[in-house]
Symmetry: C2
Subunit: 377 residues, 2 copies
């Protein structure tokens, strides 16, 4: 089904924003570029737009392929396409690479127009609030007054939530998957270990490595390996790898001995070649900082008072990075405000990564939610 209903060949576009934007950190960016993709057609009433917010290392390439020969389609291709749950025959779907991102939006490896030099370490830390603000400029540019839906998993779910706090009148439906209202101490701890691995890599050069011979690959590699452990459940690792070895007998050296080691090393190597270290550490900071309760100064239920959209919240039983109990915090605070919310806790073995997979139950729920949105337009 997946390939039959593929959106086909797609192309990224550039949106150049020349309006200055004030960031959470206090700095003002005079202008910036955002890379985005769209699938399907915006209808006459411009009321069928769905914004897809990406997670930690995601990007604008949500569905389809850039070239016929691309090995993999966009990261949420299982969900987005003709006759797929997020049906591009009905909806106008927007994928975006967030400010500071890795895929071409203005970020640490861009040129700072003021200095004519690469931003590098001087590129600011961007927050979820900043992303939503910049996403809104793109939505305005596309002539959309109100989003039919905003959807995101993990860090993307935080952006979907934030849309409701910053622009409650500009979003009609919100889908939050495998997310949390803020990070736990354990979540922050994993992020900090990843950051320290990168920052203390001698090749990181305090973030100004773009003109140097080496990139801080080894720090980024370890950070990604660690990340992967938290994306998978204990049970998924057990079924997939268990104690399977590479060789019949133990080698008694420090080469990879077990298949799980080989998998992690492969993932780490691949990522370290492709991803920008400055972007990675900033993305983890955006996660750490997000907190609609403003460090418990406000109650989540109180913050949610202004929300007007309809919600679907989805969690996965084996997700220990953003466990179902964190999704329930969101659901509870929505219910406290009599907001229309559906909630599903999907039985899935794959852990946090489940939000990227095409579990039947999960996709049926999304399918039915989007069908209903389309019908009730």
């Amino acid at each position: 089904m997946k390939e039959i209903n593929s959106i086909g060949i797609v192309k990224s576009k550039i949106f150049k924003c020349t309006d200055p934007i004030k960031l959470s950190c206090g700095m003002t960016l005079d202008n910036f570029e955002l890379i985005y993709e769209t699938y399907g057609k915006l209808n006459k009433n411009k009321d069928n737009a769905v914004l897809v917010c990406h997670a930690l290392t995601g990007n604008q390439h949500v569905a389809g392929r850039h070239k016929k020969t691309d090995k993999h389609p966009g990261w949420w291709d299982s969900l987005v396409g003709p006759s797929k749950p997020l049906n591009t025959n009905k909806f106008f779907v927007i994928g975006i690479n967030n400010l500071g991102g890795n895929e071409g939006s203005t970020g640490p490896k861009s040129i700072n127009p003021k200095t004519k030099k690469v931003w590098g370490s001087s590129f600011p830390i961007i927050t979820v609030e900043d992303w939503v603000k910049t996403q809104k400029t793109l939505i305005n540019y596309l002539g959309i007054q109100k989003l039919s839906s905003v959807i995101g998993g993990s860090l993307g779910g935080m952006q979907a939530l934030e849309w409701n706090l910053q622009f409650p009148n500009e979003v009609k439906n919100t889908i939050i998957i495998a997310a949390a209202p803020n990070l736990t101490a354990q979540n922050i701890a994993f992020n900090e270990v990843a950051r320290q691995s990168i920052i203390t890599d001698p090749d990181f050069q305090k973030g100004n490595f773009y003109t140097k011979k080496n990139k801080p690959k080894r720090g980024l590699r370890v950070a990604r390996m660690l990340g992967h452990i938290t994306y998978l459940s204990n049970d998924a690792m057990k079924s997939k790898f268990g104690r399977k070895k590479q060789n019949k007998d133990y080698q008694y050296n420090f080469n990879t001995e077990f298949e799980i080691e080989s998998y992690l090393n492969y993932q780490g190597d691949k990522f370290a070649k492709e991803f920008d270290a400055n972007t990675y550490i900033r993305m983890t900071k955006a996660l750490d900082y997000y907190d609609p309760t403003k460090q418990n100064k406000k109650k989540l239920s109180g913050v949610f008072k202004k929300i007007k959209s309809k919600f679907l919240v989805i969690s996965f039983t084996s997700d220990w990075r953003f466990s179902p109990s964190r999704s329930k915090e969101i659901v509870k605070s929505l219910l406290d405000n009599n907001i229309n919310v559906s909630y599903a806790e999907i039985s899935a073995e794959s852990g946090h990564d489940a939000f990227l997979m095409s579990d039947d139950h999960y996709h049926e729920i999304l399918n039915s939610f989007f069908k209903n949105i389309f019908k009730s337009k």
Copy 2:
């Protein structure tokens, strides 16, 4: 109570073994030294000896202080001392630094007598089986034929179990705490990330850094920070740190922003100054390799057939590194063989680290088990 019943000032001793020992990896060590400590007195019948096996980064200094001014006592001082659960008025307690260890036993930073140079990277990978074999040489040297008990937590628990497989007639009681019969894929994954962090540190120099200016502190630091996350439960981190910040407002930089970050960085720095990187990676390998089922070639119940000692197995509810279900695998296989086993799953918030703490319920169980051993002698 703790300081009143302290064992007081203690001194480490050296045992020089001149009998060659064949290691699991195939190499033969012609001679080696083990650092150990003893507390209490060996009785006339020499049947009151308790061997304490240490975990990943532990050592021979189990209880008391080396100097009056020592900031901290030995690592299991809460458990071992006069009138403590492992009562040194009754038992002769032996602490040992394992072969390859950090505290003076023959290891990577020792001189290889054959080459007259530091072992460094050429020091072999030592297994749990090797440790038990070398521990037995010390026990023989002390004139003990049969241990009253062998006790250990985590990796120490694996050694306690292995004593029963290698020397079933030489151990009367076994106490296994917060352990597992072998590592899961997730356990191995965390170890591999720690190893990669160390091995890819440019200062590691393939393990031959002893004569160089710098030690591989940054890799070891990240490895320890990661380890700490797995020693604590999610709930313990939440109670202790939550989202508490270092400053009133966000700083929007890469300095430590949250208290949990500051804690981890402190722990990482401290450890990287004190511990040997070559020892650390070898200790994690010993964990990975241990598997009495020989990669499922044998059933645990089958392997346990030869066991003769009485068991106490203890797990902690919030331990996600070695969860109660792993302890239950041991208990079940003991029960399959009609072995006398007591099992307690202690309600504790602190996670894997709970085995080092002095929870009342936990210590009462140990106290009663040891009292009973003493009575039935």
